[in-house]
Symmetry: C2
Subunit: 212 residues, 2 copies
């Protein structure tokens, strides 16, 4: 919003890189990455441009570090789920693994909300953006592989394509960042339960009857 650009946060205690990043991501999200200038960022922080450059080499570096918060957290969700599966400590087969991933991804969406919003709104006009979009595609491919295993275990509905199921699942989880509020009525854990309830039996192979 223009009004907050005109009201820099002077007199705040010194920023560390992490708290600067929060403010920078607000600017990126309000105006889009392309339209955000270093002047706008310095102004919103109440700092000189050279003070900002003390912490970040470039606007592209700010974006890269911010996107890492979302992408790194989501990649760890998959790393952990896959390590558990390899160690044989994941009950419920591939469908159980999908449930664990959905739950953990909802928690990431809530915890890293501003960084995930930034990721989801990228236009792909720079190298940093293109690399981030490639990492997003890799995450979808990992989820698709687990849905394919669920199908080979006989646990996925025949009429649901694993690739579509992976995209729908990320679409659903990612959409939370559009309206989730940390001070709202739902805790991240309750939201994770609700998402799982929403898709709970839709993925199952055994249906007793159509519900129309």
């Amino acid at each position: 919003m223009e009004s907050s650009d005109a009201a820099p946060r002077r007199g705040r205690p010194g920023y560390d890189q992490s708290s600067m990043l929060e403010v920078i991501v607000e600017v990126f999200t309000d105006h889009g990455y392309d339209a955000s200038s270093l002047g706008m960022i310095a102004n919103r922080l109440g700092l000189s441009k050279s003070a900002v450059y003390h912490h970040f080499a470039s606007k592209a570096e700010m974006l890269e570090i911010a996107l890492e918060r979302a992408l790194g957290a989501l990649e760890r969700v998959f790393d952990e789920a896959e390590a558990e599966a390899q160690a044989g400590s994941a009950p419920g087969g591939a469908v159980g693994q999908i449930r664990e991933i959905v739950r953990a991804a909802v928690l990431v969406a809530c915890a890293q909300q501003p960084y995930l919003i930034l990721l989801l709104r990228l236009h792909g006009n720079s190298e940093v953006e293109l690399r981030a979009l490639e990492r997003r595609r890799a995450l979808t491919a990992r989820l698709r592989a687990i849905f394919e295993r669920a199908r080979s275990e006989g646990a996925l509905r025949d009429d649901l394509d694993p690739g579509l199921a992976a995209r729908f699942t990320f679409g659903l989880v990612n959409s939370l960042v559009e309206w989730y509020r940390p001070d709202g009525p739902e805790t991240p854990e309750a939201l994770a339960d609700a998402v799982l309830a929403y898709v709970r039996s839709g993925l199952r192979v055994n249906e007793v009857a159509d519900f129309r």
Copy 2:
């Protein structure tokens, strides 16, 4: 993309307002609405600024007409579903109505994809944007009311809040515009079937067993 800004489409036959709008929405989506200037738009169209002004009074008017394509189409989906329910010609109660709305909304998402992408990425920095976001909220409220009726008919899971179910449903349908391609392998009708399969029984009240 910068490269296409530098390559205006000269020598094209005369534009009507609708074909101009397609190109304008590409500019808005590539750069964000805030960062898109009339100069960029005229350049991408290969027209003078005054020729663009012959068709649109302002950038805000372009945005308003573009958003109407997405919002008007979604509002008609609800108008028709509600008219059918009032006429008593909607089988399957509220859950059947939700299915019809999901199916029709997927078709709108595919048919109006560029306009829906624009709607979903608004930053809310102008009056036109704020009115559009208000209409989006009204659509969610209408879907919530139908989920509430499904619950009162005993057809919705007890552990699923109708307001969350409405948001999840729009989140899932809206996410299609991020990756849907008109020349891709899935027809809009097949995507609608897949979305319904994904959430099919997750909404039902009667479950025979947990699937873990």
